[in-house]
Amino acid sequence: MARFASNGSGRQASPAGSIVFGIVWTLFSAIFVCIGLWLTWKGVSKTSWKRVPCVIERFEIRSDQKKDPVFEADLRFRYEWEGKVYIGKELWPGNAGSNDYDKVSEIREELLSKAQRGMPEGLPSECRVDPKHPESASLLPPSGAGWFGLIFAGFGGAFMLIGVSIIRGGIRARSARSRSDQAHLAKDSPVLLAVFFGLFALVGLGFTFGVLVPTTVRWLSARSWAETPGTVIWSRVKSQRGSKGGTTYSVDLFYRYQYQGREYRSNRYGLLSSSSSGRDGKQEAVDSLPPGSTLVCYVNPRKPWQAVVKRDLGAMVLFAVFPLPFLGIGIGGLCWAIRKRRAGKLTQIASVSGGQSPHREEPIPDSPELVLTAGKSRWITFFGALFICAFWNGIVSMFVGEAWSSWMRGRPDFLLTIFLIPFVLIGSIFLVYVPYSLLLAFLARYELRLIPGTLKPGGTATLTWERAGGFGQPKSIALHLIGAEIATYAGRKKPSTSTSVFHDELLAEIPLSSIFANRPIAIKLSENAVPTLKGDSNKLVWKLRMDITLRGLPKVTDEYEIDVRPLRRDELNP
């Protein structure tokens, strides 16, 4: 089937180059898929370990600054497998602890609270046993290794899909050795774009729901945590070598505190476990909290083993805006790619099978009358603006609140405040635009009636109008017939669209005195008017534009697309 299609000729790499690049890309992506699948299999295989009753003989938490992980479960549990008694020591399969103290202590505390006991010795529980190697057992199932592997494989798979599309495009371009083959080329480009933008959206969504939302929930909840005195056990600046060779630093603080008569420990300093470049700030924090010194921590009353020293987000708040460009580019790009794909399907105009085949053009249907109503597009604009405004300002407002409270506390966070200025300005523009677009939605609107509903070169039509609601006293109405070329081309970074108007005719300028008379307006198209063309990237469109000038209110412009069909055989001049 031949159809409108595009190939972006002159801007593409050579077909052979594309194929080689696509193969390398696909193979490289396949490595990630394999690793992801292997991790998934590893995780899944461990979840198939059998659940067996056990008795905990010991469960303490050992801490050693020099070890990795720093906090290890000093665990010993007894279980039976096929009549034989075994001793298990692992908390998770292949893992004895964590660098987060509360991750290990939460398991211990929840076991104790379930059993309503103060000590774990002799506590009956359940463990997981490897049926093939019954000496291998863990108290808990693997923590999310399968899901991580699946996500990893999914990302690799999406990149593989891009690679396969590049190879396919290259093969098609290679076989396309004629100009008419342009019809078959690159019709997969919207799919490729959808995958590409989908990846962007996934990263944005993953960060939003994986980091941003949980941290925000924790931050909101930490505002009501109980202020409690504590004692520092150790404090140091921890350095980590980054993936790009640079060193990042974090505050490593371990402290104990009493809550409702019981002693707890925690190594959580801030709400977000993170490290960054710049040692001085961290060193300053560590110097102010030497071992043995007292501090103030905030304890979760519902889970007293959870505590934090610094419950405001500080500069970490900047991470909140990190997913915005990903979400914007991803979701915006996805919508654009889907629209492009849909437009491509709608504009199939010719059908070719093997051998001689008659032309099958989708004719523009003749309609005796076309009723054009304004208002829908105005509401779409309003709701679109409202959504963007709510999304943008919702996120920005959280951090404005954080900056505001830093000023209220007398310790203004200048970096955060300055950083937020452009975001607040953009948000303010949205805040102004939303009521403006809402006002436009309620302003005077008209219903146009075009008879006949489809125009043709050299043809005539009659246009009438009728007030369809809205408020505002019109001062004058101007009606234009517009013809425009719209071309979409592959820009350096993103596709761009250019518009050139080839026809702008003032059909009528109706003063206040004649607005209510509703005199029909005659439209006469010239003999050499071009019919409507609805390609993917090349369009010839005709529109009626109504400019409504209102007293003391913004001017309203409504545009209505109309069709100009080609002449039929019997309509052509002899």
């Binding site: 031949a2 159809r3 409108f4 299609a5 595009s6 190939n7 972006g8 000729s9 050795r177 004629s178 100009r179 008419s180 083959d181 342009q182 019809a183 010719a350 070719v352 093997g354 051998g355 001689q356 085949s357 008659p358 032309h359 053009e361 004719p363 070169p457 001062k475 013809g483 070329e485 071309a487 979409t488 081309y489 592959a490 596709p495 250019s498 518009t499 050139s500 108007v501 080839f502 026809h503 702008d504 003999e527 050499n528 008017a529 071009v530 019919p531 063309l533 390609g535 993917d536 990237s537 090349n538 209102l550 007293r551 003391g552 209110l553 913004p554 001017k555 080609p566 002449l567 052509l572």
Partner: protein, 137 residues
């Protein structure tokens, strides 16, 4: 020897009206037997937009290494040949052999007046939103 082909129209002027019949002859000399040989009637766009094409009709030709044949196609009613600032639309016949590719291409015009539709570029000055607001006071 390089594969060769030619397309000759019966009309002296390569300009037609919609629904006209376009007749002519094709000749080819490939040096070897092709897997497929066909004459395609199609239109394509040029200009600054991403090129698009629509194959309207295909006439299969005998699978011989050399030969001649006549052809006759009925043109459809649209699209018209267009020459605009951003978009041009051209009609053409192309002789294509597989696996060689294009052997010959003949462009022609389709329009009610046997002329491409010329689309002038009109300068449009859009009033700013501020002027739109202020203009009504």
């Amino acid at each position: 020897m390089n594969p060769q082909g030619s397309i000759t129209l019966d009309n002296a002027v390569a300009a037609f009206r919609p629904f006209d019949e376009i007749r002519g002859s094709v000749a080819w000399d490939l040096g070897s037997l092709p897997k497929s040989l066909e004459l395609r009637l199609f239109w394509c766009t040029g200009g600054c937009g991403v090129p698009e094409a629509g194959v309207v009709q295909i006439q299969s030709l005998p699978l011989t290494s050399e030969g001649e044949a006549t052809f006759s196609f009925s043109l459809p009613g649209a699209p018209y040949s267009v020459r605009g600032k951003l978009i041009t639309l051209t009609w053409a016949l192309e002789l294509v052999a597989n696996p060689i590719g294009s052997l010959a291409l003949k462009e022609f015009v389709v329009g009610p007046e046997k002329q491409p539709v010329e689309l002038p570029a009109i300068e449009q000055i859009k009033p700013s939103w501020w002027k739109a607001w202020r203009g009504n006071r």
